[in-house]
Symmetry: C2
Subunit: 541 residues, 2 copies
């Protein structure tokens, strides 16, 4: 009777479907009425927390979500009524960083006042999200099931990220804000803004104004300084850090539209594949000091505009052939017998990482900088791995901090076929990463030493935009990014030490998906509604 | 210099990017201004044509589409001005059927009055769509490029379809109407409404009211008679036939929620896979005369509600085990020594096809009815193939008419991973069918006899909704359904007899995609905008 046990377990969970699941979660057997109107209170000077209280008041007061499995259920009898939710902060400080304490405790009695206790503003925000998810509606009346509720919660990973590429195709600021909303509904806390790439340069530069002027996709497809500040502020209000990426020295064709003199292999056609991973080709010319100066200038400018402690330098998919065929590089190497393309690249990295340090920032780089160059990054550099799942254990074995973004599990653009217009084949990272595949990935796999496990600081899904833009954004991201979010917040194992399975969590993810749709996020369905309503009915025997 | 030639060819096509491409299309070198305001005229008593003139007036008067490759172009000098578009009909008759003549001729002079000449109202509608696509905007001014234009056009296939499954997940009527709009922009002409399946019964039944009452997903997820009539009328106004499918005897679990006594193997769990292709299992009980009577009753009712000459009976994925283990079937077979499950199934098909005939309709069936049963369908039955691309030649070799829907090319739901909640694997019909893969499929492959080629009457893409609903509808369908639409309307070859390649047509499809987005359809991007703006720049060498 294994199936009957599983079904009973799933049904019992339906009423308390918090996503991601809290670390400690004890429940009772009563139902508590939730009155309409403002009832969230916090004695705080934090504008961020006060804004969040306002925001969650609005979310709660219009919540109409009913768990799909409860579709035949009437309003249950209530044993008490919530009078208020009080938020108690350890400290009103609003600093948001990799080290921010996001833990919180939430208590909801059968009747009376609920409370969130948190060390920081951002822990309180996480508690508010959890509180909002406990509220469900039956016949238009809002209740909290299974009271009293006691929750103690904290994240498994400090960096829980989502990368969006706004260069290959552009996304309006409204899309970014909606994405930040959805991230907050899943306790994600890093928006990795892959803001420029070879195809377009949407962001304003005051040091190099030609970049945006010549290489944004148009006047209506730009991010001004004001837009960036607006996005950072909107993100911070939701406890989300914004890490910008200026990918160099590859992926920079677009710089050549303004500064061709510091570039190599600009838009080689038709054989671009000898020079770049995708068209248009173009890399900063590492034989030219002006190229490294330009890069340092960019970093100097954008470490002022972007306020987070971490600054991403890219460093992926550098093509050696682009340089070895470059006339200036050839001439330089002919004149300097000790130099090679590799030493030039290492010199370049030395300069740009120094510029990051000069900007009082911590560098972040794609894994090639560590594994495929002669450069030795500063020890505080955060290494984002994507090529191979085994790069995570390799990174921490080298003593570097790791953010896990394996293409094999966390690249949300995969599986939509090739996009070069004459190739009827699969995407390079086929297949599509289903929510189950995303969910089942373990960032800690093959890392046993506790010191090395602590160096695994993050996980991040990525949406590269070759085949995505505003029209498809939500469908690509949700609910698959939510699947990663539970791993990153809750870890892989439940309280009993068992790895959570997709069969165990699917019902909660249905709930989260419908909740998100109700909040205006275009999250795709997991299954026929019949399956969401009949827990356990859609499992492979 | 092959690439240079190709680029020049693509650039020259950019200004006249009609999708699907017309059969005969000659152009000049001038540009004609298109004034605002109503200027479409037709001397007709056809309400459908008059409505279409109104509709296209609105579309044209708000057209802001500029071909992406022309993003730097200023308004070209105009050599003349359009004074009106006159539509000349051979006949005002509004009959819409498989045999309807959809051909038209379109002439646009450099200056003066343009004209559409068509034998029928529906040919005129196709001409209006073409005319609307010739209008492009530069700096807010609308023009037609490359005038004078002369087009002669007609479809390669009479049945150009799109299947939507509204049972596994529900779609509001507004979604269906938007889909019909998008179909009309691509000259598709059959909406195959897979209206019920095992998971829900959204449509009203007056003969069996319990079906909708008990088995729709909810009061807000139903199609009333009025809704169906509204959809049919909306479709007809766009020259689109609505073919309903009532899939039997499999895929009918939902009937068992009201009539369990006529069903076999109702929702067997957990081993549903022995009884059905997916949960919940349930088939009409072929040993019970009441089951065939019920089916005939359904057909009797719905051949009145649905007005098209074709009525789809389903017949796919019938599971023999569901019956061979059924106690009633066993008892029947024990008492009738000449009977088998196969003879019972053939008897069932005989009765339901007779009911279709009694309703003055032509039956349509999935290929299993022809290839995997002992039943011999009436010779006028239209066979829809899906399992194997070779089923198309096999169907026409047997003398039946074929509509091609191979899962390997035309199933738009494939490639999103498995959906049973405990299986981290690929979808059964992986990979995702990219627009290029859809485009490259040839429904006429391996059929050489002209008599047999004429039996290939249609092509149809399908969206099964296990992992799709209102939130993801447009993303799944567009522009991939448009890729099929060009094959179905224009055939595989250009005027010189060469098979069109994706590299040749990608620029036109970019245009069509952006045009559709402008008209409110959520069609996904094919590539980075950079590629759309730089024809030939994103090809595999």
């Amino acid at each position: 009777m294994k199936i009957a046990v599983a079904l009973a377990g799933l049904a019992a969970m339906a009423a308390a479907a918090v996503w991601p699941v809290p670390a400690v979660f004890t429940t009772g057997n009563d139902t508590t009425a939730v009155p309409s109107g403002p009832m969230l209170a916090g004695n705080t000077t934090s504008a961020i927390l006060n804004d969040a209280l306002e925001r969650y008041r609005a979310i709660i007061n219009k919540e109409t979500f009913t768990p799909p499995a409860d579709y035949k259920m009437q309003l249950p009898a209530t044993a008490g009524k919530l009078s208020a939710l009080e938020v108690r902060l350890g400290c009103d400080d609003e600093t948001l960083s990799l080290g921010t304490d996001e833990s919180y405790t939430l208590d909801i009695p059968v009747s009376g006042k609920a409370s969130i206790t948190a060390a920081t503003v951002y822990g309180a925000l996480r508690g508010l999200e959890t509180f909002s998810q406990l509220i469900v509606a039956y016949s238009g009346s809002r209740v909290i099931r299974n009271t009293p509720v006691h929750i103690e919660d904290r994240p498994a990973l400090a960096h829980r990220g989502l990368l969006l590429d706004t260069s290959r195709n552009y996304y309006p600021v409204a899309d970014l804000k909606r994405t930040l909303d959805a991230m907050s509904y899943n306790k994600l806390n890093v928006f990795h803004w892959h803001i420029v790439d070879a195809q377009s340069w949407p962001v304003e530069s005051r040091a190099y104004p030609g970049l945006q002027k010549n290489s944004s996709y148009g006047a209506d497809m730009r991010y001004s300084y004001g837009d960036v500040q607006d996005v950072i502020s909107y993100a911070r209000a939701r406890g989300i850090r914004v890490i910008p990426e200026f990918d160099m020295p590859g992926h920079m064709f677009v710089v050549g539209e303004t500064y061709p003199e510091i570039m190599s292999c600009l838009n080689k056609q038709p054989n671009w594949d000898k020079y770049a991973a995708e068209p248009p080709s173009g890399q900063l010319n590492i034989a030219k000091p002006a190229a490294a100066d330009f890069a340092a200038g960019l970093i100097g400018e954008y470490t002022k505009l972007f306020t987070d402690e971490v600054f991403h330098l890219g460093g992926d998919e550098v093509n050696r052939n682009c340089w070895s065929e470059d006339p200036d590089v050839k001439a330089y190497l002919a004149a300097h017998s000790n130099a090679t393309v590799e030493t030039l690249l290492a010199d370049f990295y030395t300069k740009v990482h120094a510029a990051v340090g000069a900007g009082q920032r911590v560098g972040m780089s794609w894994e090639e900088t560590l594994f495929k160059s002669e450069y030795v990054p500063p020890k505080d550099t955060i290494i984002q791995t994507w090529i191979d799942e085994q790069s995570i254990p390799k990174t921490v074995a080298r003593g570097y901090r790791s953010v896990a973004s394996p293409a094999s599990a966390y690249y949300l653009d995969c599986g939509h076929g090739a996009w070069l217009a004459n190739f009827d084949g699969n995407s390079w990272c086929d297949p599509y990463k289903s929510w189950m595949h995303v969910y089942n990935f373990d960032p800690w796999a093959n890392v046993t030493s506790s010191a090395q496990r602590e160096l695994i600081i993050g996980a991040e899904v990525a949406l590269w935009s070759e085949q995505a833009d505003s029209v498809s954004l939500d469908n690509y991201l949700w609910p698959r990014a939510a699947a990663m979010a539970e791993t990153a917040w809750s870890g892989k194992k439940d309280a009993s030490g068992q790895v959570r399975t997709t069969a165990q969590v699917v019902q909660r993810l249905h709930d989260q998906r419908f909740r998100m749709v109700g909040r205006g996020i275009g999250a795709v369905p997991l299954q026929p509604l019949w399956c969401a309503r009949n827990p356990g009915g859609c499992l492979l025997p």
